[in-house]
Amino acid sequence: MYLKSLTIKGFKSFAETTKIQLSPGVTVVVGPNGSGKSNIVDSIVWVLGAQGPRSLRSQKMEDVIFAGSNNRAGLGRAEVTLVIDNSDGTLPIPAAEVAITRSLSRSGESDYSINGSPARLVDLVDLLADAHVGRSQHVIIGQGQIDQMLSARPEERRAIIEEAA
């Protein structure tokens, strides 16, 4: 199992539909300050079911929708699709690829879908649980978070091991 592609539209600084091919091995993301590197990570955290805006450096969930820039108007909807290669059958779904999509409109409507058919957050959580992706606390380390690992309380550290167990 690995992440195969990520399609981002209207999420944070991605105003245009942007499809990013991913592959096994080491991928290094580079670019100037403010160019959108951490926003790519946020889009993965979000499509995997993140609930609190704070985990996305936001105050309200709709902060993730492209708010506009100096010569572009804001958009009304954010949509991210993560395609996972499942040819080894890690995910309990009989398909060689699994596409997870999440969308949010300014009116607050939020949808998930798995391989095109509507799904709820709980379906997503079930799907990912076996693959140790879960709440993904220990597999996605956001900017500045490496130091926080050590200031976490002992119960929080235990929770990280339990999540992976």
């Binding site: 790519i40 990570v41 220990h138 900017q143 050590l150 002992p154």
Partner: protein, 162 residues
């Protein structure tokens, strides 16, 4: 019947010791239960020994040392309970040259067993990439991403010999 957690803790500890001694040559580390009477609830703490030093409190460790301890813990969990991918956003910002080299050694070690997505400003981290993703912010304040397969950058002679 040992709980799932206790079994995982033992596995994590085996990996933690192995990886920690790679990042801190001559050092050792274990994750311990704070309240052994109550293994089902107890939080965990680190017991560390770093060569030449007496580590009294984690808060007294330096910025770079804290990053290395956290990386050893994360990769120990990752090794004992493999996940399909790991994403690291500028985790090596506080490291000096020697520790950066040890971190890159970790990436080399795991590159064949997992998908690693690493955000970085360090040139030496870019050098271990199979693929580079370049993000730019254009004049209209939106992100564009370009992709470059590094293996294609090998001198032509080597590539045609592949």
């Amino acid at each position: 019947m040992r709980s799932v957690f206790m079994v995982a803790l033992e596995d994590v500890n085996r990996s933690f010791q192995a990886i920690f001694s790679q990042l801190f040559p001559g050092g050792s580390a274990t994750v311990v239960l704070l309240d052994t009477e109550n293994p089902l609830q107890s939080g965990v703490d680190f017991e560390l020994s770093i060569p030449a030093k007496k580590v009294r409190r984690m808060s007294l460790l330096s910025g770079g040392e804290r990053s290395m301890v956290a990386l050893a813990f994360l990769f120990a969990i990752f090794q004992s309970r493999p996940a399909p991918f790991v994403i690291l956003d500028e985790v090596e910002a506080a490291l000096d040259d020697k520790n950066l080299a040890r971190f890159l050694g970790l990436l080399e070690h795991f590159r064949t067993t997992a998908q690693l997505l690493v955000i970085s400003h360090q040139k030496r981290t870019m050098e271990v990439a199979d693929v580079l993703l370049g993000a730019t912010m254009d004049k209209s304040g939106t992100t564009k991403v370009v992709r470059e397969e590094i293996s294609k950058r090998l001198p032509l002679a080597i590539r045609t010999a592949e």
